[in-house]
Amino acid sequence: MYERHILICAGTGCISSGADKVQEALIKSLQEHNLQDKVRIIMSGCHGFCEKGPLFIVFPEDVFYCGVQAEDVPELVEEYLIKGNMVERLLYKDPVSEEIVINHDKIMFYSKQQRLALRNCGVIDPENIDEYIIRGGYLGLKNALKMEPSEVVEEIKSSGLRGRGGAGFPTGMKWQFCLSSEGAKKYVVCNADEGDPGAFMDRSLLEGDPHAVLEGMMITGQAINADEGYIYVRSEYPLAIQRLRTAIRQAEEYGMLGENILGFGFNFKVKIKEGAGAFVCGEETALLASIEGRRGVPRHRPPFPAVEGLWNKPTVINNVETLANVPLILRRGAEQFASVGTEGSKGTKVFALTGKVNNTGLVEVPMGITIREVVFDIGGGIRFGKKFKAAQIGGPSGGCIPEEHLDLPIDFDSLTAAGAMMGSGGLVVVDEDTCMVDLARYFLSFTKKESCGQCIPCRIGTNQMYDILEDITEGRGKPEDVALLEELATAVKKGSMCGLGQTAPNPVLTTLRYFRDEYEAHVNEKRCPALVCKPLLQYYIDAEKCIGCQRCIKACPVDAITGEKKQPHEIDQELCTQCSACFDACPKKVSAVVVVSEGLKTEEEVEVCEEGCKCQS
């Protein structure tokens, strides 16, 4: 009989910060103290709080240790497990109140969350099907198998579930289309091609609760009369693939996959297809092309995959998170699912919260929660007490929501109305130190590279937008560029063939909408208000503060700084490359190096020097 259970997070994040070494150390330490029969170690899926990993949670008392390293383990065993003393330095400290929080559910990061899709993540051992079943797993499937396909579709319809992959298409309706499509052979495809940089909810779900996804696929199969499913997963997710394989094997052994499942005469098999990581393969028709062995590029719709999909057979394609919600609906009923969320968006949504907030990680929140709650309550506010500037929602194709919309409820429709989108659920918080023009340029650098190159607006338009943004951030912007950029962005958005091109301009369009003044400062005054765009910055040394330590002189890579020891130094603006080495080298107490962006001189102001050049000095 075990006295204690210890959950060690074994998500990709925690493993990369040393969770497997913690496991080894714990096994060793428990053996040393002969506790191996009293304490059970569970390597769980992701808890979402990756920033504080590796996480080490002790049950039944629910003590939450974070940032645990292998060398901390003996202390935890001896002090806490044996003597019962808290190891305070490893407990969580609230970034705002600076208070220590012992229990995991008291932590603000968790207390405001509502974990439905992630219900088992971090709780069960993902490599053990029994743990999934004990938590109600495969009950939803059993319920579905007792129902007619159309009844399952109705159930999903009345739950109000909408696709979690980005566009938010009603799942039940999609299934309905596929169910009514003619054809004996149909497919279920799970879209696990999570391409948004920074988003990892699909990965965490597959790693932490793979059976939920399998069960969701089987219920889909029952609903549309399909007997075969594909999981299209990035090959960059080796752990997810491994756990999926394990889960498929175990489900087959239990008769949950294969033929005559649970004795209902229902057959279903699942194959895994590894993608090579192209962003566009997340688009459903591109994904299908990739499974079929062709270049992963989108095609025109209609026909929609529900009518003509994989190998030209009717196909339902759902995102990992959508599928993880499905068993819950079939198990607890559509009504209970629909009780969470807003009028148009039911249930919860998982976000990958990153950026300049104190608590970053994976969070699942009910639809309708405000951005403010996510950023300030769950996220613990902005780091170093800086000022919130914007929340970039929806991945590289999402939009930036400014401070005045902090109380915007997060649901499909209000985000779209604000120019952003739910996307797959990336949420990047930016503070006052972020230049919005540079941010837009950054996202465009991603989408322009990931454009499949088929249609003209996306292939060439995104590139031209990027070039203009680069010009603006490097001080070459012309006054007419802002209007041109807007025109191009609209052309790409309205003219592109697939979702990639149709959404790629969102970062540009929303920053233009909410932060136009920043663009204008860059273009008209050659000034970067956030002090980010290097070519628009000037570095000076405050003669009154400078102590003449010569550290900046040594640091400067282009010998632009001169000055005698103990005398104020000076930066030659003509030589300076704005690399910031002097700024970093200047002792914090002194802070004599000042960075400003006061605008480059205009054409008329530039004097022609002796050499005849129009230098900016």
Binding site: E450, C452, I456, R459, G461, N463, Q464, A491, G495
Partner: protein, 669 residues
């Protein structure tokens, strides 16, 4: 469901078939919608977005090339907004197209991008930097690629797959560096290594000058070219072509098709005439052998005179039976008719033939007798939709490349099961094919097994020892029984086949129902280009014009033949007629050989007006492209000259009169 839908385009109510795209609906009704990537012969891809139209109730413009017209749809194809968008799109495309080259580009004036830029008055944008090879690449003697000009319309990629059944091109890279390149196993290779058969179809569909014929530059700009419809005579498929001339010089050949016909060419059709034109150092010659057996150059009229005198002498001293006339597979139907008239009425000999394989003639006439007059073998449109294709014999990729392309398409992209008696090749991998090479060279066994099974239910084919089981027999017979099952017989089969083989083939055709009264699903391919036309116009000793039976299929070249009037290359062994006097008339511009006593060079195929009939019974016109300024006569004129010198009162001022006479001839049932 109704078969037609009605919609409104620009205020006009129109009716089109269900499934028609908006673009096609508009074009069918004379409303032009601009496009860059759309090509009528290919599946629309929606790459360029220029074909956008506005539809009532839709939030933003949609592409018309890939959206079907639906009932009640209200479309407008012109508006200020659309104009603006199309301009914008063209300008974007120009940002990756070296428009500065327009001044020196061959496609100038016919370039579809240039056309769009002109139409919308585009501003010329700065060129985007791209990571693509800037130099023109020609790794082969046929086709050159200029990637800088490519606008990624995707036509070449598609035509290669669906037209040639090859996978030479791939779209590779991403973003603005996306390019089209010959690709195999994940890396760029030469065109040949990527499996290119140089059919050149990709050149014909390229909207800009990214693909062109090698040495196409300075060969005349597209709009300076004069185009004539022609027939390719490289094989008996007789593909329709367009021949393009600049100042009387053949610059290029492209595929051409009227509605409902196939539209592809092979390497020989696309580049063959240019290759021939390359050998124009000898423009033609007229020679008469002197007493020492040496060719002496003479004037045309002297050569003609010598020819008629010699033949007359032989006829007078040995009788008309000592004369034989041989047509070439390149003669037109009109010429073949005149030639047989010359032989039968003027020279008064029945010894007329051409090289067509006797087995082919037998098979052709046997099947014609069952199916009925005018019931021709399957055309390519039918073959493309085949459920089963049995290929008998080998070497189609050499002898009839377009047929091989069609089979490839039907096998890869259609739903055809391809059954082959020739040894499998690398390409077969892509087909749902069935290897029947155990019957290679002994196809009769297969034919008999199938007909025995279907007619008598016998599965005892006695072929178990060569690995052909009763199960195989049932499967194959089942496939052959399908409604859309076809057989294609290659010339190699006919070359070697005897009467027994032909009988077995015909018996199988009957048993499987491939041939029945009013139905003919067998394509018989002779090695001679206009074989079907020549047979129909009486170019053999066994049939007069209109398949009127004359004699038996036998050896025209009898021992007593003393004089031969030969068109084209000899279809007989010259050793057999060592002592015969040979008058050779040929469009071949090479130095005449020693086999003939008199050589008369005639104008080439591209200068020949006349009709040709292909293996599927389609008769098409080959137009005279350029005024014949070579000083050479056409074959038909030589025939008329010879007839006159024999005293015949022929008075054909033009081929039209010949056609009238031919039309009045009776045709056998």
């Amino acid at each position: 469901m109704k078969k037609t839908v009605s919609l409104t385009i620009n205020g006009a109510k129109i009716f089109v078939d269900r499934g028609t795209t908006i673009l096609e609906a508009a074009r069918q009704n004379g409303i032009e919608i601009p496009t860059l990537c759309y090509h009528p012969a290919l599946k629309p891809l929606g790459h360029c977005r220029v074909c956008i139209v506005e539809i009532e109730g839709m939030e933003k413009p949609v592409t018309s090339c890939d959206n079907p017209a639906t009932e009640g749809m209200v479309v407008s194809t012109e508006s200020e907004l659309l104009e603006e968008k199309r301009k914008q799109l063209t300008e974007l495309a120009l940002a990756t197209h070296p428009y500065k080259d327009c001044l020196t580009c061959t496609r100038t004036g016919t370039c579809e991008l240039q056309d769009s830029a002109y139409r919308y008055g585009c501003a010329l944008p700065e060129q985007l930097e791209r990571d693509i090879p800037a130099v023109k690449t020609a790794d082969n003697p046929y086709l050159s690629r200029d990637e800088e000009k490519c606008i990624i319309c995707g036509r070449c990629v598609q035509v290669c797959r669906t037209g040639a059944g090859r996978f030479v091109y791939s779209i590779v890279g991403s973003g603005v560096d996306t390019r089209v390149a010959p690709w195999r196993s994940g890396r760029e290779v030469s065109m040949e290594d990527a499996g290119c058969i140089f059919c050149g179809q990709c050149i014909d569909v390229c909207p800009v000058a990214a693909l062109s014929e090698v040495d196409r530059e300075k060969g005349g700009r597209e709009w300076e070219l004069v185009t004539y419809p022609g027939i390719c005579l490289h094989c008996s498929l007789g593909c329709p072509t367009s021949r393009h001339y600049s100042n009387g010089r053949l610059v290029k050949t492209t595929a051409s098709a009227s509605k409902g016909e196939h539209k592809w060419l092979c390497r020989k059709g696309k580049f063959g005439l240019n290759e021939d034109a390359g050998e124009e150092n000898i423009t033609g010659s007229f020679t008469v052998k002197d007493e020492d057996g040496v060719n002496q150059n003479v004037e045309l009229k002297d050569a003609l005179k010598a020819a008629s005198e010699s033949l007359k002498l032989i006829k007078d001293s040995h009788g008309a039976g000592a004369l034989a006339v041989f047509a070439s597979g390149q003669l037109s139907n009109e010429e073949s008719y005149l030639l047989q008239k010359l032989a039968r009425n003027v020279l008064e000999t029945d010894n007329i033939n051409f090289g067509a394989e006797p087995a082919w003639v037998e098979a052709f006439t046997a099947i014609r007798a069952i199916a009925g007059a005018g019931i021709n073998g399957p055309g390519f449109n039918q073959l493309e939709r085949a459920e089963t294709i049995l290929i008998v014999g080998s070497g189609l990729e050499e002898s009839h490349p377009v047929a091989e392309m069609i089979i490839n398409r039907a096998g890869r992209f259609g739903c055809a099961r391809v059954l082959k008696t020739s040894p499998p090749t690398e390409d077969d991998y892509f087909w749902q094919h069935m290897d029947l090479s155990i019957f290679y060279g002994r196809e009769t066994l297969l034919f008999s097994a199938i007909s025995d099974y279907l007619e008598a239910g016998s599965v005892e084919s006695g072929l178990e020892e060569i690995g052909f089981t009763a199960e195989d027999l049932r499967t194959i017979s089942g496939l052959m029984l399908k409604e859309k099952s076809y057989t294609i017989v290659s010339p190699t089969f006919f070359k070697e086949a005897g009467p027994g083989e032909v009988d077995a083939l015909v018996k199988m055709a009957r048993a499987t129902g491939q041939v029945a009264p009013g139905k003919n699903n067998i394509l018989l391919l002779s090695g001679y280009s206009n074989a079907t036309g020549i047979l129909a116009t009486g170019g053999t000793s066994y049939f007069g014009p209109g398949y009127i039976r004359q004699g038996d299929i036998d050896d025209t070249l009898q021992n007593q033949v003393k004089g031969i009037l030969l068109f084209g290359s000899p279809p007989f062994d010259p050793e057999k007629v060592k002592d015969a006097f040979i008058v050779r008339v040929s469009g071949d511009r090479k130095e005449p050989g020693q086999e003939a006593n008199i050589n008369i060079t005639t104008a080439g195929h591209d200068q020949k007006e006349g009709h040709f009939t292909n293996a599927a019974g389609q008769t098409r016109l080959n137009d005279t492209a350029v005024t014949n300024n070579t000083g050479l006569l056409n074959d038909w004129q030589v025939i008329c000259e010879l007839a006159s010198s024999f005293g015949a009162k022929w008075s054909y001022a033009s081929l039209d009169q010949v056609r009238e006479e031919m039309a009045s001839q009776p045709v056998a049932d």
